[in-house]
Symmetry: C2
Subunit: 315 residues, 2 copies
Amino acid sequence: MTSDDIARTAVAETTSGKVPGTSKPIFPRLCLIGLGLIASSVAWAAKRDGLVDEIVGTARSPETMARAVELGFVDRAVADPAEAVAGADLVMLCTPLSTFAELAERIAPNLKPGAVLTDAGSVKHTVIKDVGPFVPDGVHFVPGHPIAGTEHSGPDSGFADLFKGRWCILTPPEGTSAEAVDRLSEFWTSMGAMIEVMDAEHHDKVLAITSHLPHLIAYTIVGTAVDLEESTKEAVIKFSASGFRDFTRIAASDPTMWRDIFLSNREATLEMCQRFSEDLTALQRAIRWGEADKLHELFTRTRAIRRGIIDANQA
Amino acid sequence: MTSDDIARTAVAETTSGKVPGTSKPIFPRLCLIGLGLIASSVAWAAKRDGLVDEIVGTARSPETMARAVELGFVDRAVADPAEAVAGADLVMLCTPLSTFAELAERIAPNLKPGAVLTDAGSVKHTVIKDVGPFVPDGVHFVPGHPIAGTEHSGPDSGFADLFKGRWCILTPPEGTSAEAVDRLSEFWTSMGAMIEVMDAEHHDKVLAITSHLPHLIAYTIVGTAVDLEESTKEAVIKFSASGFRDFTRIAASDPTMWRDIFLSNREATLEMCQRFSEDLTALQRAIRWGEADKLHELFTRTRAIRRGIIDANQA
């Protein structure tokens, strides 16, 4: 038994009691590029469930790599991404979207034939545009998006149950190997996620309203509060009621990641934002002119959506 | 022992084991006008902690009154509010804000000298304007606002711990008896709340940004989603991510209550909404023109507010 084996056994025993190696791993070697919340959660889950034999990690910052090794969710850290991907059966990009094009260009020559290349980015059409052209023949490119997260970031924030009961959306471009999509699906479902395959543009439109616009709004309203005069701001923090408290949690999300999401999903986010602004203006007007019935009617309609979400088990 | 006594003893024993009557109640008779989430929670907490001897309830709907008696959080239900308040030491208005003026006029002649009249309304300057003129000499009018709630409403939604660790803001007009304010404060703190006394206008401005605007925005964005074409709407419900999911919970709040809040706190809500819209427009513009640094800078600033709220133990 090597020291790596011992480390992995210890992880497996303390988290689920499973002994690794009792079933064939889905991807013998996993390479994680970027070692934040998503990557560390994937690593913990994949180790716990014996889905991989070895995890190689790479990150821009030496401190992050050292921390990942120290925490034990990667077996090796390699500073050069091109070197890190060599021999990997699954390569997952877990860095902010703005880094994808350059990373793809760097790692492409070293990708192993037959390997699956995926990512965890929140916008999919730009990933296909940025990464697609660099993918060599014989490598299977299957973009993915696990709809899971917390307001925490960095290598210490991951946990094996992050994806349990959450959706992971795959957006393979036309002509992608069905076998590769199936294998990646099995990897995610083994970590507890549910899989949906859809078109990248549809994904980006849906996420614009369910995730990107809510984050944009949360950042905005918390920013509006920051700009209030000091005495009001103190009271805002002290008496932070349910609505605002939820918004501050959302607005504590990783700034680089979200900057990239908005810039990548620019058109869909701006389109949804425009619709929202029109609707808000209409509501403002109804308040100003005391249109009680109009307000009551809308507030009643919005209750139904909540029931739909509760029925869909996403509440 | 009367049957009322037996009912109360049973409630006390099953919830906290306390036997009522072992310490002097703060208000021997409590009258609750309106029997929804707040009133039923006050009733359960006051009974559990022996803060009152008797609770009389009144509501517009006979079904609500019957349910309150059946659940056991009121000892008697009386259809006529004027009759219900007779002999009460504490009268609390727990109905939507639009009902306050008419209710105050009806109950005023029957209020007991020395009684405390309070409310649980979310906007305070209109309560003082609507109720104040009717309050007879010798009755102490102490407006209040427990900052607590859930998206549920009605007599079945209450629970004794709703106010535990939450703020209750009192906004007594100038000249209010300090003894009455102290007695009402003791009532709320005995139920687990923390008390802050402030000016009604300041309250309304702070709540406009921490509660009223967030609710307005949540109603708006969920409404925007409702109006999407059917195929997108289905996906929105299915893949409802963290941001949107939180908004739907807020947007499931009681429609009548919130209609009245927006119309009552019209000026402060519109002022905050205007600031918010300007800030959102600036962000939209930054996204459209790809101003990455501006986005990153704002998203970093908003994180600090979250830390402030966590430090203030409101997260």
